[in-house]
């Protein structure tokens, strides 16, 4: 519903999708890069937009949805303002990345399958490997890489962002 409201209230957003589709010559073969560009714009893939992309490319919405759900990079639910990614690659894992994840999730009161906080401020994800294994364990907050992390250090990062948001 949020996405619908966004589209209605801001028609300019749709113009962006035209540009993206035209850049890729409306070729179904370009579906993956098209969805990447759409996600760059919206920070996730709203269902309405997926249907729109399917119509524009003259393929079934099921195929677009199939591709969108296959790749882990694509998100079909909105993400929080700050993206916290914890690396759980082998090197980070053997250097105790799991307690860091537990500490972050506990601080943000995220339980079970929930990855985004109710106030839409944080989304916490794990990634398989960021390739910064030399610095394990690694936490990435909005593309800034923090190496040799500890549970306490990660919670401190979160606290700092919350403090910044509140001030």
């Amino acid at each position: 519903m949020r996405a619908q409201a966004k589209l209605d209230s801001n028609g300019r957003k749709l113009v962006k999708i035209f540009t993206i589709l035209d850049k890729h010559e409306r070729k179904p073969a370009r579906l993956v890069p098209i969805l990447q560009a759409v996600q760059e714009e919206y920070r996730y893939l709203p269902q309405e937009v997926l249907t729109y992309v399917a119509t524009a490319l003259d393929i079934s919405p099921a195929r677009v949805f199939g591709v969108a759900t296959f790749y882990s990079h694509f998100a079909i639910a909105p993400k929080g303002k700050h993206l916290v990614r914890l690396c759980d690659g082998t090197a980070c894992h053997v250097k105790d990345s799991v307690p860091i994840l537990d500490a972050i999730r506990k601080r943000l009161k995220l339980e079970g399958k929930k990855v985004t906080t109710d106030d839409m401020l944080f989304t916490v994800e794990t990634v398989a490997c960021l390739g910064a294994c030399g610095l394990a364990p690694v936490v990435v907050v909005n593309d800034q890489v923090y190496g040799a992390m500890t549970p306490a250090g990660a919670v401190k990062l979160i606290e700092e962002i919350i403090a910044r948001e509140q001030s």
Binding site: K27, P28, A29, R30, L31, V32, P33, L35, Q36, G66, V67, F70, Y71, S72, H73, F74, D88, G89, T90, A91, H93, V94, K95, V127, A128, C129, L130, G131, A132, C133, G134, L135, A136, V138, D143, Q144, V145, Y146, G147
Partner: protein, 629 residues
């Protein structure tokens, strides 16, 4: 075409910036995370303040500047970053912060003296090492693919040219026939560095002999193995070498379109590869008339979208075609019918970088290193519990002991201190690979000897583990990964990996019986047999390999409901070794539930009824007297 630029392909022409002083700051992902960009900014300010005339750009002609400052790709010694190299003095400063820049500028650049406190100190000899020539981590390596990474500016095509770049591509395109190129690669014995180790020459020959007006070459840069970052480093540090290899491959099979499929998790590598392609187009190395040969060659960089299975050739092709990245049965092999049904070859980043060397120096020179069946060198990402983590390159046939103990500097304990007898295992080859143990320390690392012990080279991730690592939970870690990454096409892979994971969870949580292990072994073999692609075929390897070498640890979990390392919290039983405990009382004070008791200077004991297995006591004890948590 710009002939002036091409002239520097000839080493005799233009001596460029050889005598110029250089400051190179490593800007690989690791060093950037530790503040390399701030260090570069500080250098710019301080060098200007010191009145030194400086440039940040490589120029082919004699430069009027006294100094060149540039950032480089990953230099490999990630643990010690940010790294700053001063040439031609051959000084390597490590862990450089903004505050150290002033000293480097005043003492080294102006005064010509070495700042001792910023040098790497060899932990065994306690001697400071001035440059990479003195550091054991580098001394025992033989760097070819990584040679220019960390020296050249990855964003400067001119500097790559100045280091002999694109000479091999030019030779292949203008002077060699397709057959000659393929023969040279076949003769070199080069095998695919992406995992399988398939002979590159054979792959090329299969595509070359196909009759088709359209053929494709794809560079597989979808390095998905957790714990591996070799390809990322090559793309970030020397992107033109990958592109040059790709051009040679295209020429060899007669393709006019190429594509580089890079993992989206590597934004810097994507940016550098794209820039390399643009620069090559500007100079006429790519386009409708490459090197003035009349032949066309185009290249596109595509980003993946976070699916591990897309590292598999047929899945990658599906992904490029805008489909879900699911593999299909082979044959037909991509060399016969690949992208859009046309003959296609897919080569790994590192393989392509090696191709350049084979063409430049010849197959015989290439074969001088490595073993007979696995010639050449291989890059490995050395991580986990070792003193020196980072990116290394060694000839095939180097022993595991040399890699872990000498280049890696030994195994570290949980506090990061080197421990003489701490080695437990090395996991090699990621989720498709297996474990190597104490008995394999003298095993030569190559494709065939690793396969004979149930492991594989894979893409080259080497994760060292100390004695405090539970092998059952390592097996669970990989199974969790493959279970999530299974594309779901083959039932045995989709459901089998899920069941294997559930059984490992039973073992870790203490619900398993003797039957669980037997069932797990049976299912693991079934998944291997009943899966189409490499992901499924190799998914059970971590389980089978840990079962083979660490059966006693599984038995302890299953029959004694006890995790010897204490990592599996449900089965941890912490205890204090009375022989080691000196009764300092530190652990008792830290225990949050008051489960530890004992008199001063007397061995303490843990009350199992109260203990919540939090592990604080083990972290506190300086004598390592607490075990099992």
């Amino acid at each position: 075409m710009n002939h002036r630029i091409l002239n520097i392909l000839d080493p005799a022409a233009g001596n460029g910036c050889k005598t110029q002083r250089r400051v190179i700051v490593c800007a690989g992902t690791g060093c950037v995370a530790n503040g390399a960009y701030q260090v570069i900014t500080a250098f710019k300010e301080q060098i200007a303040a010191a009145g030194i005339s400086m440039t940040t750009e490589f120029k082919a002609e004699e430069s009027s500047h006294d100094l060149r400052l540039n950032k480089s790709g990953c230099q490999g010694f990630c643990q010690m970053g940010p790294l700053v190299t001063i040439l031609p003095d051959q000084i390597l400063y490590n862990k450089v912060t903004v505050a150290d820049v002033d000293d480097i500028v005043r003492q080294t650049l102006v005064g010509g003296k070495v700042v001792d406190r910023l040098l790497y100190v060899d932990p065994t000899t306690r001697k400071p090492c001035q440059g990479i020539q003195d550091i054991p981590f580098y001394q025992r390596q033989q760097r070819f693919v990584l040679k220019e990474c960390g020296v050249i500016d990855p964003e400067s095509i001119l500097e790559y040219l100045h280091h002999g770049g694109y000479a091999a591509a030019k030779k292949a395109i203008l002077q060699m026939t397709q057959v000659e190129i393929v023969q040279e690669i076949t003769r070199s014995g080069l095998r695919g560095r992406g995992g399988g180790g398939f002979p590159t020459g054979r792959k090329w020959e299969a595509a070359r002999t196909q009759k088709s007006a359209k053929k494709y070459v794809i560079c597989n840069a979808d390095e998905g193995d957790p714990g591996a970052f070799m390809n990322r480093s090559v793309m970030e540090g020397n992107p033109h070498s990958v592109l040059e290899g790709l051009m040679i491959a295209a020429r060899a099979i007669g393709a006019d379109e190429t594509l580089i499929y890079v993992r989206t998790e590597y934004p810097l590598a994507v940016a550098r590869m794209k820039r390399a392609v643009e620069k090559a187009q500007q100079l006429g190395f790519l386009g409708d008339n490459i090197f003035g040969s009349g032949q066309a060659l185009h290249c596109e960089v595509m980003e993946g979208a976070g699916a591990f299975v897309c590292g598999e050739e047929t899945a990658m092709i599906a992904s490029i075609e805008g489909q879900r990245g699911m593999p299909r049965p082979k044959p037909p092999f991509p060399a016969q019918s690949g992208l859009w049904g046309k003959p296609t070859i897919i080569n790994n980043v590192e393989t392509l970088a090696h191709v350049v060397r084979v063409i430049n120096e010849g197959a015989d020179k290439f074969k001088q290193l490595g073993s007979a069946a696995s010639p050449g060198t291989k890059t490995f990402a050395l991580t986990g519990h070792v003193a020196n983590t980072g990116l290394i390159e060694v000839p095939f046939g180097t022993t595991l002991r040399e890699v872990v103990m000498q280049i890696g500097g030994g195994i570290t304990d949980r506090r990061g201190k080197v421990k003489a007898n701490g080695f437990k295992a090395v996991q090699i080859g990621g989720p498709s690979g297996g474990c190597l143990t104490q008995e394999h320390l003298d095993l030569p690392l190559d494709y065939d000897s690793l396969r004979s012990v149930g492991a594989m080279v894979g893409s080259g991730g080497l994760v060292a583990m100390n004695e405090k690592t539970c092998m059952v939970s390592i097996a669970r870690f990989f199974m969790d990964f493959t279970q999530r990454e299974s594309c779901g096409k083959c039932v045995l892979c989709r459901e089998g990996t899920r069941q294997l994971l559930a059984m490992l969870d039973d073992i870790i949580e203490g619900h398993a019986t003797g039957e669980t292990i037997a069932l797990m072994e049976k299912l693991a073999l079934a998944v291997q047999k009943g899966s189409l692609c490499g992901l499924g075929k190799t998914a059970p390897n971590p389980v089978l390999s840990t079962l083979r070498y660490f059966r006693a640890e599984y038995d302890a979990h299953v029959f004694h409901k006890h995790c010897p390392t204490g990592q599996c919290k449900a089965l941890a039983r912490p205890s204090i070794d009375p022989a080691k405990c000196k009764g300092c009382m530190a652990c008792g004070k830290k225990c949050p539930v008051g489960a530890i008791s004992g008199e001063r200077k007397q061995p303490h004991v843990i009350d199992q009824g109260k203990c919540i297995v939090c592990g604080v006591c083990a972290d506190t004890c300086k004598l390592d007297a607490v075990t099992g948590v």
